[in-house]
Each structure stands twice: as structure tokens, then as C-alpha cells.
């Protein structure tokens, strides 16, 4: 494992990668050149063969997604790159955009070529101003160098790529919410089917892929699907993966590992628990993922293993909590997030996330009652699988795992009529 060479983050810390010239010197745009010499379908096949699964959260096989785009030229097609990274705990895509913008542009260009999309929008969350500025500059250079525009690298393939800035809404990371937002509307997810591959942006077939997913693509083209498949746990969990580690670890940050690294290795890589404290809980895949306990410390961090353990890899944003952490307080904060970010169109999510936040706040403030744990579970049940989009299911992940895995902590809050944990102070003497 120590021998693993970073793939996606290889250019991080090399400021020359920000320029086209520098990126090229580092081997950039070779994947695109290779792709342009292939038939589009062959590119799709290569990505399919690599086993690359979406890095945004759902883990859907990318090549398969591309193959759903209907052939034929009767309708325009679009690629929308999902750079709306908003899942609490997740900050990997920002790293990729701020340090290696051309890698993303190259990945987008290859995808567009594969599905015959002549327009690509990079939907970037409004708060990521720096990423947008860096990408804008990179796009400008790419246009000037003929990598984008009327004939991509002289191939005759036309491609326009634009930055589209969001304006602060987590739900726009949901792919149809993103499309609505791109079209200038409230980011309210659409009823599916139809799926975006058939009716996407502006009514046309559309691929939506996460930043990290697309950043893998140039490397698959350059080094081949077999190389990609050789990294990872098994056939269904392949390639390098960015893990964003935050919370109570010594060195939080984005770490690149072969997918399927164990949580223990990752924790060690991040310098272990801060202040030498005990691990109490960790969230393996962003705020939506059910919380795991230390007994899972040796879990392989890939899509299927984490799912089997009753959580999900999601965006691989790992939030680590130590023994001083109040789980009720933590989950209440996540519940507040989901309530704030619910778009409000569908009943279970609008009402249910709100109710959960109210109950959890009450519990945290020592005003809980005996029945609250059961009530939370029942609210979760009434949201789960019944909301219009995945946000409802995401919102119940942490709450359900709180009740299932930390029941004694809820009981303690109720019994003692107060939060048993002291309000943490992180800075001494206000300094």
C-alpha cells in the first residue's frame, strides 16, 4: 500500500499544473489525444471495462451511464459536471479544481467526445469562487490552444465548455435538482423517470458526472482499463479514490488511496486521533451516511463493504468523532442541515426533516421524552423510500444510526434531563 502512487492528486502541490503548458509537461491531455483517435463507443467501452463507479455518492458505473445516452444526432446532448460539492465533510473536488483544473477539463472533454455532447456545463457551487476563477482561466487557455471550441485538437469534434455557478443550495447536487438550477429554476429535483440520459438539460439527453469521476477518465484512457482495475478491492470497486478526512484527527485532509483502504490505515495516515483521544464514532461517507462505531475500524472503505456494514461510502467524506463528542448534538446539527437544505416540494422530506430537527434539538436540550427514540425511528420510516429524491433518505441516515447504535446516549439525555457532555471548548482562554 505504501507503494501507491497518487493518480488524481499527482499534480497537487505543483503550481505549474495550473497552466496548460505545465499540465502538458506533466503528461496532460494525452488521454484526450488517445480518445480522439478512437471511436466514441470504444471510449465508452474502455470506461465501462475499467469499472469506474461514480464518485459523487451513488456509485453508479460511469461507463454504463454514458452508454444510456441515445445515439443519433437529432437532439443536442449535454454533459453536466457536478461540481456542487456540498455534502458536509466533503472537500475533495475543490482540491482537484483548485490544483489541477485541466485534469477535469480533459476528463469532461473525453466524456463529451464519447457521448457526442457538444456542450458541457461545469455546475460549480456558488461558494467555490476560487475554483471557478481557476477553472475559468484554464478554460480560456484550453480554448486558445484549440483543445476546446469548433474542432477539439483538430479532430473536427466541436465542444463548448462553460462554468455555471450555483448560488447556495445543497439540493442542486442532486442531479435533476442541478438540471433545474442550470435551467434557471429553483433547484427542485424532478420526478424520475424520465432519467437525465433521456430527458436531461433543456429536454435533451444528458450525462451528469461528479468532478472526481471525470478526473479519473484521462488516466483510464492513458493507462488503460486494466491498469485501473488492478487498483482496488475487487471487480466492483476499482481505481484510486479520494478520501476527505475531517473531525477529530490529527491531520485532516484529502488523502488518495486505492479504493478499499481500511479505515484504520486511513486514520493512521491522518496522524491518528487528535490529542491521543479515543475514537467514538465515524461517518464513512458524508453527512448522509449512517454513523459507524469503532468496532468497524477495520472496514474496507469501498462501496460494497461499507454498504454491507449498514452505511454507505457516499462521497467518501470521513468525519471522525472522539470520546468527548455528544452524538445527539452532532446528529441534531446534521438534522438541522438537512432541514435547511430540503427543497420543500415533497411532503415527507419537508415536514419530516423539520420534525426530526425539532425532536433532536429538544433531546439535546434535555427536554426529551421516553418515546422520542421510537418516534424518530417512525419518522425515519415515513420518510425513507417515500420522498421524491434521495435527500429524504440521506436525512434519515444519521438519525436512524443514532437511535440504532447509540440508544444509551439518547436514554441518558432523557434521564438526566440535560446533555451529559460538557459544551466543548476548543480554544483556551479565547486565544
Amino acid at each position: 500500500m505504501a507503494a501507491f502512487e497518487p493518480v488524481l492528486t499527482r499534480n497537487v502541490g505543483k503550481p505549474e499544473a495550473l497552466t496548460l503548458k505545465g499540465y502538458r509537461q506533466l503528461g496532460g491531455y494525452e488521454g484526450l489525444t488517445k480518445a480522439l483517435a478512437m471511436e466514441p463507443d470504444a471510449v465508452i467501452d474502455e470506461v465501462k471495462k475499467s469499472g469506474l463507479r461514480g464518485r459523487g455518492g451513488a456509485g453508479f458505473p460511469a461507463g454504463m451511464k454514458w452508454s444510456f445516452i441515445p445515439k443519433g444526432k437529432d437532439k443536442p446532448k449535454y454533459l453536466v459536471c457536478n461540481a456542487d460539492e456540498s455534502e458536509p465533510g466533503t472537500f475533495k473536488d475543490r482540491l482537484l479544481m483548485e490544483n489541477d483544473p485541466h485534469q477535469l477539463i480533459e476528463g469532461c472533454a473525453i466524456c463529451c467526445y464519447a457521448v457526442s455532447a457538444n456542450t458541457c456545463y461545469i455546475y460549480i457551487r456558488g461558494e467555490y469562487v476560487k475554483s471557478a476563477v481557476i477553472l475559468e482561466q484554464a478554460l480560456k487557455e484550453a480554448y486558445e490552444a484549440g483543445i476546446l471550441g469548433d474542432s477539439v485538437q483538430g479532430s473536427g469534434f466541436k465542444l463548448n465548455m462553460y462554468i455555471h455557478r450555483g448560488a447556495g443550495a445543497y439540493i442542486c447536487g442532486e442531479e435533476t435538482g442541478m438540471l433545474e438550477s442550470l435551467e434557471g429554476k429553483r433547484g427542485q429535483p424532478r420526478v424520475k423517470p424520465p432519467f437525465p440520459a433521456v430527458v436531461g438539460a433543456f429536454g435533451a439527453p444528458t450525462v451528469i458526472n461528479n468532478v472526481e469521476t471525470l478526473c479519473n477518465v484521462p488516466h483510464i484512457l492513458t493507462r488503460g482499463a486494466d491498469w485501473f482495475k488492478s487498483i482496488g478491492t475487487d471487480e466492483r470497486n476499482t481505481g484510486p479514490k479520494l478520501y476527505a478526512i475531517s473531525g477529530h484527527v490529527d491531520r485532516p485532509g484529502t488523502y488518495e488511496y486505492p479504493i478499499g483502504v481500511t479505515f484504520r490505515e486511513m486514520l493512521d495516515g491522518a496522524g491518528g486521533m487528535w490529542h491521543g483521544r479515543q475514537l467514538k464514532a465515524f461517518i464513512p461517507g458524508g453527512a448522509s451516511a449512517p454513523i459507524l462505531k469503532p468496532d468497524q475500524i477495520d472496514i474496507k472503505m469501498d462501496f460494497d463493504t461499507v454498504a454491507k456494514a449498514g452505511s454507505m461510502l457516499g462521497s467518501a467524506a470521513v468525519i471522525v468523532m472522539d470520546e468527548t463528542t455528544c452524538m445527539v448534538r452532532s446528529v441534531a446539527r446534521l438534522a438541522k442541515f438537512f432541514n435547511h437544505e430540503s427543497c420543500g416540494q415533497c411532503t415527507p422530506c419537508r415536514e419530516g426533516t423539520n420534525w426530526m430537527e425539532l425532536v433532536l434539538k429538544r433531546l439535546e436540550h434535555g427536554e426529551g421524552t421516553e418515546g422520542d427514540a421510537q418516534k424518530l425511528l417512525s419518522i425515519c420510516k415515513n420518510i425513507g423510500g417515500q420522498s421524491l429524491c434521495a435527500l429524504g433518505d440521506a436525512a434519515i441516515g444519521p438519525v436512524k444510526s443514532l437511535v440504532d447504535r447509540f440508544p444509551e446516549e439518547i436514554e441518558q439525555h432523557v434521564r438526566e434531563r440535560a446533555c451529559p457532555f460538557p459544551q466543548p471548548r476548543y480554544f483556551e482562554n479565547g486565544a
Partner: protein
């Protein structure tokens, strides 16, 4: 066409029908709030979750019936499994936790989707005991426009109203604001919901969030008596239910007719009953300004018309407000006294447009419902009594009705008509015209009688008496039958004066109505066979009439 089984009832539906509509065809109501057949499908309320199996294989999650379209054979839908019932119960709880318990003062109570479904699918107690209900201070009675009031506390965020203004009215005054549990509907600050169809949002609001300014606190809906009727606001003939209590009309609601007004009607039409309340009522027969009884009055009409024969013109002025049956009897009276001078003057007003499904919108300009029916029934003609001195040449002028148009309220026109030697006026309103008459006869208005109207597209539509006339007021059909039998005993069998009998008789006589009968006339009306080049049916008469009154 694919077959679909819903709770073990199999129906055949057109490919692409959604499960809610397929359910209706199978006689199964899938509960829903946000779905409306004329609005885009948004799948928001999640009330219509059902279990669907495709070829025996159950889909992993419950599906929203509104967005599940039957495309092929093999679907089996269940709306009554424990899982579905649980989901419905859960959804009802979500709807109710933040909904005020103000049914006792809510106009919607009694016809409320929340009440109905919580009775059917909900539970009787609340688990939302320790939290405060969400409220919108200051947003409990917001007039969105002249005719619609919003109480945001009651809103369940189904967005039907928003989609209506965007997709049907095309005006887009309403929007969905904020996010999550704080979402609201409303207008942009300073803007009003004031399109001609605005009150339709009250009809489609499943709860009491949007109420009608006119109907607010007017009546508890369970006290309303409802009868199918036709709006008299214009020539479109929107199908309505006339809703009243003890003869006091409270509101008009559009009644679905895909051929005419679909689910909609305009606000102008909704308000059109107000005139029955605002205008003075002609309440007893009057001869020479003195109240009298019906037989004296009719004897007087008979003897004075009979006496006047030969001493000058006898003219008839009809009205676009007459039922076809009334117009028919009126025309028969004209025939009996040998008069050829007839016309049906109507006002032209604002053009009202009602959008329809998969058909061009229907438009009406004439401010009366039945000019066409009256003309078909024999009252068509071109006497020009409203202008110049034509009336002065009349020995007798019979006008039906006292509120045929603006002219009946215009002193100059009334003075012009008054020049006739004998002026007989039928009508419900004690208009200046009625007051000027030698003989005034109080007859029922359209809420008090049965009849038919023929609309702008030559569709004959039946409406029912919503309540009986009071006092000495009688339906005109009855009065005219009485009068006719005084001239000719052959008419006495008709003296019972039922609109149905008259309709059947005119249907046997007039080619346009051939093959129709009162009993067989469909609830949605019937298209008439009208020869295209019918000389009397040109709209020029109406144009002329309007120019005259303008």
C-alpha cells in the same frame, strides 16, 4: 390498449394513462393532492403512493400513482395493502403536524382534502405534542388579488395554484418562495393575482389555504344545495353548479365539461349571480302600475293584444337570457297574433376566454347565454326597436325580459320603447323598463327554472331549477303556456308549463334539435345540427345590437 389491474379490477386504458386516472376508470380513488389532470405532474405530495407489480414482480419501492404511466400489459396495482396504508397514514401525519386545527372557522371545512383523507387514511391523535406548529405570522389573510385570499398557515404546498397560473392562465402571478419547511406560495411584492380566471385556484386548492373573497364566511358548505346549471355571464355557457341556501345563491362553481369549460370558469361569470341580489325584484304582476293577480294580468294581456290587432304593428323583443323553451313559446305567441317583428338584442362585452384541453380555447363576447337558442326557437329577426322611433309605430310591444341588456336600464332607450301604445314586459328585475310597462309580469330568473341554453358553439345544454321562485313569481314557460291557451285552446295541454314538455315539442319541430329529447339530452349537452348559411343566425344581428347600445 394496455390492461391494468387495480385492486383486482382490470381495466383497459390508453397507453400513457397514469395510475390515478386508471384507478378512476376502475372505480378506485387513489388519494392525491398535487396531481390535477390538467396540470404538469410533479409528484410532490406523495399521497398517491401505491404498490405496483410488473408481470408479478413487485417494484422495490412504493410508486407515486400520478407519475406511473401504464404503457403495457402486466401491471398490477394495489392501493389497499398494509404497506400502502402505512405510507398514507405517515403522509397524513406529515400534512397535519403543521396544519392549524381551525376547521370550525375554515371555509373549506366540509369539502377539504385534508379532512376527507384524514378520516379515511389518518389517525385520530397527534404525536406532534412537544413542538410548536409552524405559522406564518401576518400571512393568515393575504388578499392575493380582488377575489382570492391566502391563509399560508393552511397551505400544504401542493403548488397546484402556482402551476395553474403558469400553465393554464399563462399569467404566472404565483410563485413558490423560500425553501424546505419554510416554503410559501404568494405573489411578488406589489403584484396581484388578478387574471380573469383567478378564482380557479380556489377550486383546485385541496385545502383552505386559498379561499374566495366572495364566498368567505358566506355559508358552511354542508348547508349548500347544489344543482347543475349554466353560467349566464356570456355565450360560452360554462357548466356550473349553482350553490344556494334557501333561495340565496352563495356561489357558482365550475362543473367539468371537457367540451365547454373543462374544469374552469372566469371570475366575471362567478360573480354574475350578484345581479339577482343587487337589482330590485319584480314580485307581483302589475297592470297600469297597480299590483294585481295573475289571471287578471294575463286576461288583460290577452284582451288588450287581441283588441289592438289591426291597429298597428305588434312587435316582440326577446332576450339572450331567455331559455330556448321560453323563446319558443314567445315565438308561438308572435305567430298566433300574426307578428313578424321579432329580434333578440344582446350586448357585446369583454371577450372571455376559457382554456380547454386539446382544443382551442372557447371565447365569448356576447353578454348573454342564449342568443342562438332564442333565434333558433323562432325569435330571430331584425326589428330595430332600440333605435329611432320604430317603437312609436307599435300598437303592442312585448318585451321578454326586463333585463335583456344594458338598454333596459337606460332611461333614453326606455323612453323610446315606451312610445309603443301598449308595453308588456316579462322579467325578473324591476328595471326602469319594467316600471315603464303597462303590464309587467314577474317571472323566474335562471336559478328558479329549468331550461336549455345554446352556447357559442351551438351546443345545447340543460340546466336545472336550483330553488323555486317565491311569492307570485312564476316560471315564464308556465306564464306563456297560460297566455297561449287564452289565444288558442289547442295550447291548454301545455298549461302545466314544464320546460321538458316544451323542449320535447320544439325538438320535434325544429330541424336543429331533431332527435333530441329532454330526458336523453346528455349532461354535457349536445351539438346542434345548424345549417351553416342560416340567414338569421349570422352574428351580424348581434353586432348591430351592440353598436346600437354602444
Amino acid at each position: 390498449m394496455p390492461k391494468v389491474t387495480i385492486n383486482d379490477r382490470t381495466v383497459e386504458v390508453e397507453a400513457g394513462t397514469n395510475v390515478i386516472d386508471a384507478g378512476l376508470k376502475a372505480g378506485v380513488l387513489v388519494p392525491h393532492y398535487c396531481y390535477h389532470p390538467r396540470l404538469s405532474v410533479v409528484g410532490q405530495c406523495r399521497m398517491c403512493l401505491v404498490e405496483i407489480s410488473d408481470g408479478g414482480k413487485k417494484m422495490p419501492k412504493l410508486q407515486t400513482a400520478c407519475s406511473s404511466y401504464v404503457m403495457k400489459d402486466g401491471w398490477s396495482v394495489h392501493t389497499d395493502t398494509p404497506e400502502v396504508a402505512e405510507a398514507q397514514k405517515g403522509m397524513m401525519e406529515f400534512f397535519l403536524i403543521n396544519h392549524p386545527l381551525d376547521c370550525p372557522i375554515c371555509d373549506q371545512a366540509g369539502e377539504c382534502g385534508l379532512q376527507d383523507y384524514s378520516f379515511k387514511h389518518g389517525v385520530a391523535f397527534s404525536r406532534f405534542q412537544y413542538e410548536d406548529k409552524r405559522t406564518y405570522p401576518g400571512r393568515e389573510r393575504i388578499p392575493l388579488g380582488a377575489n382570492v385570499v391566502l391563509n399560508m398557515n393552511r397551505c400544504i404546498q401542493c403548488t397546484r395554484c402556482i402551476r395553474f397560473t403558469e400553465e393554464i392562465a399563462g399569467t404566472g402571478e404565483l410563485g413558490f418562495f423560500n425553501r424546505g419547511a419554510r416554503v410559501e406560495i404568494g405573489t411578488f411584492p406589489g403584484k396581484e393575482l388578478n387574471n380573469p380566471l383567478a378564482t380557479c385556484v380556489v377550486d383546485i386548492c385541496p385545502v383552505g389555504a386559498l379561499t374566495s373573497t366572495r364566498f368567505r364566511f358566506a355559508e358552511r358548505v354542508w348547508y349548500l344545495d347544489k344543482k347543475p346549471s349554466i353560467c349566464t355571464g356570456c355565450e360560452v355557457g360554462c357548466n356550473i353548479t349553482m350553490e344556494q341556501r334557501r333561495g340565496d345563491i352563495k356561489r357558482y362553481k365550475p362543473r367539468f365539461n371537457i367540451e365547454v369549460n373543462d374544469y374552469w370558469m372566469c371570475d366575471y361569470g362567478r360573480a354574475s349571480f350578484e345581479r339577482y341580489k343587487q337589482q330590485p325584484r319584480l314580485s307581483s304582476p302589475r297592470v297600469a302600475a297597480g299590483n294585481t293577480g295573475w289571471s287578471q294580468a294575463l286576461d288583460a294581456v290577452h284582451s288588450r293584444i287581441a283588441g289592438a290587432q289591426g291597429s298597428g304593428e305588434i312587435a316582440f323583443l326577446g332576450s339572450g337570457f331567455l331559455t330556448t323553451e321560453e323563446a319558443y313559446l314567445f315565438a308561438k305567441l308572435a305567430d298566433l297574433v300574426g307578428s313578424q317583428s321579432r329580434s333578440v338584442p344582446v350586448d357585446l362585452g369583454t371577450e372571455w376566454t376559457i382554456p380547454r384541453h386539446q382544443r382551442p380555447p372557447i371565447k365569448g363576447r356576447e353578454a348573454a347565454p342564449n342568443r342562438r337558442g332564442a333565434e333558433l326557437a323562432g325569435l330571430g329577426g331584425e326589428n330595430d326597436l332600440l333605435h329611432g322611433d320604430a317603437a312609436s309605430r307599435c300598437a303592442v310591444l312585448v318585451i321578454c325580459d326586463s333585463d335583456f341588456g344594458k338598454a333596459a336600464w337606460d332611461p333614453e332607450t326606455v323612453a323610446r320603447l315606451r312610445q309603443a301604445k301598449l308595453l308588456v314586459v316579462f322579467g325578473w328585475a324591476d328595471s326602469p323598463l319594467a316600471q315603464a310597462a303597462d303590464i309587467a309580469l314577474p317571472v323566474a330568473h335562471h336559478g328558479e327554472k329549468d331550461g336549455t341554453f345554446v352556447n357559442v358553439e351551438w351546443r345545447v345544454q340543460r340546466f336545472e331549477k336550483a330553488f323555486p321562485p317565491t311569492g307570485q313569481v312564476r316560471p315564464a314557460v308556465e306564464v306563456l303556456s297560460d297566455l297561449l291557451s287564452r289565444f288558442d285552446a289547442a295550447w291548454s295541454p301545455l298549461s302545466a308549463g314544464a320546460a321538458s314538455t316544451v323542449f320535447d315539442r320544439l325538438a320535434g319541430e325544429l330541424p336543429a334539435f331533431a332527435g333530441l329529447s329532454w330526458r336523453r339530452l346528455p349532461a354535457t349537452g349536445a351539438s346542434l345540427h345548424v345549417p351553416e348559411a342560416h340567414p338569421k343566425l349570422s352574428d351580424q344581428a348581434a353586432e348591430a345590437a351592440s353598436e346600437a347600445t354602444a
